[in-house]
Symmetry: D2
Subunit: 337 residues, 4 copies
């Protein structure tokens, strides 16, 4: 039975607490937050859970095996470091840390302390993304052409990170999970419509090997909520709409066929094929349930989790590169492998 | 009665012929195309119209006052030049020409010959775009924040121009019509998934004065047809979905309010407002009908058409800059005013 | 080459003329309408076609092999009778006639004159309905449970027939084509919101053998256009949305499984299954093209058309019964086989 | 502080407990259910709440002021009777009882005991239905023409009541709240696709004074979930789609205008008008929260609740009449006022 403490009970923390509470092999023992009101909510819902406003109390508690960190991005590094130092296994809300240097230091520390360090990239644990992974790995989509995602809505404006670190991180984590190719360069643009605040609109183009291109459109200032991702391959094409209650994943048997033109040997003739559309049944288990159970199981068995610290680091490297590119208005920034 | 000849009866030509045929004040007298089959179709439908495979015959016909050019982009300049030289008024399908240099030479020639030169940017003549223009001009949207458009589908791959010149041109023409600010720089990315062919996927970010940002996502290789444009302002936000048979334009009384935070004077507090959504009734007249009648009327009165050669030139300048930027993988390219 | 004359160039007539004009094996020779304006339109579009305001001229023309009737319902019987008398093959727009007695008299006459009498039920010739027929006939849907259709929009109010004869007729024709069971009784309700006019809202319940139930909701006074039909079977369920440009037919691998309850032998336990959804590719050929070509081919070969006069009679019998039931506010009316 | 006991912790009970737990002026003190597992869930979530498997314990508890009944329909009458007898205020899940005779006996008892008897018709407390009520009462819709609702999905099959008592009851409660006219007769049809089970498909036509017609389509065996209601008036028309996360209520400025025809004095000419569509902002407060707070407030003040026992009785009278009509395959059944 993994005994877990959760730091941060704001937007995401309640989901972590609920899932660790209900997951097999886990037990929430303590929750830490700066707000007394929120701690009262914890007490009302989980009377057996201890609460504290002092994170040292949680970090040093001998009754905890693991700590989940669900606080603002800038605090991920110090809190996760302290938890690892205290000998805890650590799960950090996305992104793993606010810089790749911090990610690497956490990874080194986890290795030295022989503790599990995992990042909470939730999407790779959703039934929809798992189904798409299955389709790609089976070869059903053929050679991948592009990943193109729109993730926009009204709010929530963050003060310490841009919309890239808040929303594009989801798509980067999905790409990292789905594609064996990793982005080698990024061009990003965007702007801040609120003075002195981080950019609230951003557009990222990712360049991958094998002529795969990725694009991510993120926006905190949109009148409608859109969660739409297109993944096209040479054989089939997927539209993944996370807003739909059912039929989230649609697989189109569509594409092009390229042949030499009979009239002109220097010219190719493109023809179009269209066939059935299939919306496969998708497992509806809550992703965070799967993730928390994976965390617990990996602690027990030593197995690597799906969203390990390596993936956390790869994603943060792209976030850093995209931020630099956005500040230089689209200048290509290469990503170190 | 304006006597019109149409060159090119491929994809767009039939629409031009039909609209000139039915528009007030116009008459189609001759159609030129290289394909005998297509000319037979013209004859079957419009028995009174002359047909020819030799464009000189059309250009030199004394029975024509005006010529509409609906041929591949690379031929716009020579055909429009010849028509102006022959003393005809000229309407050219978008884009006006394949380079800004060619646009300027056509404009000079038109001025010298005292003939009307107009570009067929169809969208500014649609009821939906006219309604959005009305909302912007009335101040209902407030200060404009961004224009963000997705224009994707399967096909039609072009051989002589990229998807930017084929599809993004529509959004550039809409922006040119809607916004008094003109883009000052562009960063574009994209790729070609068919070897030795022009890019079939492209992403453009446009930088405007006053912190307005534009983004255009165009794609010939998408499993679904999307025609969705978001235009956000400080007061209201528009979603324009050209695929909808009705309710194409939705106006959301939504946005953010920015106030100094009571807790932290260096930090702003963003709050969100949400009100009614209005889908105004939109005039359903075919846009090309309005455009052809505007052409005829401008020839008669000397008035400037809505999509004059100046707008055609401005749009081509952005197309050129976007092409250069795409080739340099997102490098910022400034646009000469 | 079947030489066809068309009577009536109002709402549906132009579609008939266009399709007979373009169909293989047919030729439109003459069009009759009371309105000179409409005949001028015919002339403008089809200069080779003769026009007349006197239907006797068309009916007696020795140059015609067949006549298509696209006039108000009450005139179907006299016009089709006269055409058959004159030795023509006859295609009548739905419904075949304004009463089953009239249908039978037309059928007798056709038999005596050895001429083809066919009704234009267009939907059985659509790719979508043909695909559903294929699914039912192959057994993929299992035992049929119900047919439930909503066919509503704003307008067009008819003056001589109710919304049942105008819109429900489509669903009755689809049911007649899809299901080998024929309705044995009907209960209908509805009302007229415009005084002294026929009912503009109606609801029909059809009782079939084998516990199949049918329901049709038709309305001329609805704010939105809906064309949605559900066809459920014991194995799979179909949703057919004719408004969609693509993915009109969706096949859901969903249903119930009924088992005796372990706790209570008198009670059944119902459990639910949900699997993939498939939207099969549907042939997009215009239905009326297929229908007109079928008409021509059946004239030539003597084969029975898909929507023969028998089907026209069966549909009119249900229309009559439904009208009687509606007037008696839902009273069950049996349908003679 | 109203001290509440809840009987039944199956499908709806957990919602009642949660809302009474969080509502102002209320406190859940005891929950009764036959299943020990469910009671364990109550304990895990609400450690302060007492649980029991014996409903007498709850009914006779001196610590309770009110009892909420969320059990199968056939038990509503005995449980609500016993609770009133024990001097409790009573809230009964819809429908109020399994017969109008039982409803009246409960009402008599409540009056004798001077206790509040309220039925939990949830929809009249939703923001969407309240907004529609506002539109009707303000006269914005004009004279009402019809109410037409489709409420279908897969499951949950009930064993003791038909789909009419389970799903149509919602629409009857909405109609009762929205319209001052009450139905005077009903024609219903339907069938059971599972042998020896109650009907799982049903269609109700309601006849109201003033030529208003109502129609309700309910189905437990549909592949998709639809919750769509059209309410048309002489001035405007509403489409209410409860499945939508936002824009649930759309108000169409559409309709017909009826004028004498200039050509034919015995004939009316119908013309169509189409204007803007407005989706008003709708209050998103959970309906059951409002309902539970209304219950508590009405107990305290003696005010009548929105969904009082009278409305519960009116709805049950229609349910009874519809059941009789369905069994007689659509025969018109009058409803006693």
């Amino acid at each position: 039975m993994l005994r877990v403490g959760v730091i941060g009970y704001g937007y995401w923390g309640p989901n972590l607490v609920r899932n660790f509470h209900e997951a097999r092999g886990c037990q929430v023992r303590m929750v830490c937050d700066l707000s007394a009101d929120r701690l009262a909510q914890v007490k009302a819902r989980y009377p057996a859970v201890q609460v504290t406003r002092r994170c040292e109390e949680l970090l040093n508690s001998p009754e905890l095996d693991a700590v989940a960190v669900a606080t603002p991005v800038s605090t991920h590094f110090p809190l996760a470091s302290a938890a690892l130092q205290a000998g805890k296994h650590v799960l950090v809300e996305k992104p793993l840390a606010d810089s790749s240097a911090h990610c690497r230091r956490l990874m080194d520390l986890a290795e030295r302390k022989r503790r599990l360090l995992m990042v909470d990239h939730t999407f790779p644990y959703t039934g929809a993304v798992m189904k798409i992974k299955e389709l790609i790995d089976s070869g059903a989509l053929g050679r991948i052409y592009y990943y193109d995602s729109t993730r926009i809505n009204l709010g929530l404006f963050q003060h310490d990170v841009s919309v890239i670190w808040d929303l594009a991180v989801h798509d980067l984590a999905i790409c990292d999970f789905l594609l064996k190719e990793k982005p080698v360069a990024v061009s990003a643009t965007g702007t801040a419509h609120v003075p002195n605040q981080p950019p609230n609109v951003a557009y990222l183009t990712l360049f991958f090997p094998n002529n795969i291109i990725g694009h991510i459109n993120v926006n905190w200032l949109a009148p409608v909520k859109i969660r739409q991702t297109l993944i096209s391959g040479s054989e089939k094409m997927v539209v993944y709409d996370d807003n739909q209650p059912t039929e989230k994943v649609k697989v189109y048997d569509k594409g092009i066929t390229v042949k030499p033109s009979p009239e002109n040997i220097y010219r190719l003739r493109v023809s179009y094929r269209a066939g059935d559309m299939l919306a496969p049944q998708v497992d509806g288990t809550e992703a965070l349930r799967r993730l928390t159970e994976d965390f617990a199981e990996c602690v027990e068995t030593g197995r690597r989790p799906r969203t390990d610290a390596e993936s956390g680091l790869r994603v943060v490297r792209v976030l850093e590169a995209a931020t630099r590119s956005l500040n230089a208005r689209g200048r290509l920034v290469h990503i170190r492998p």
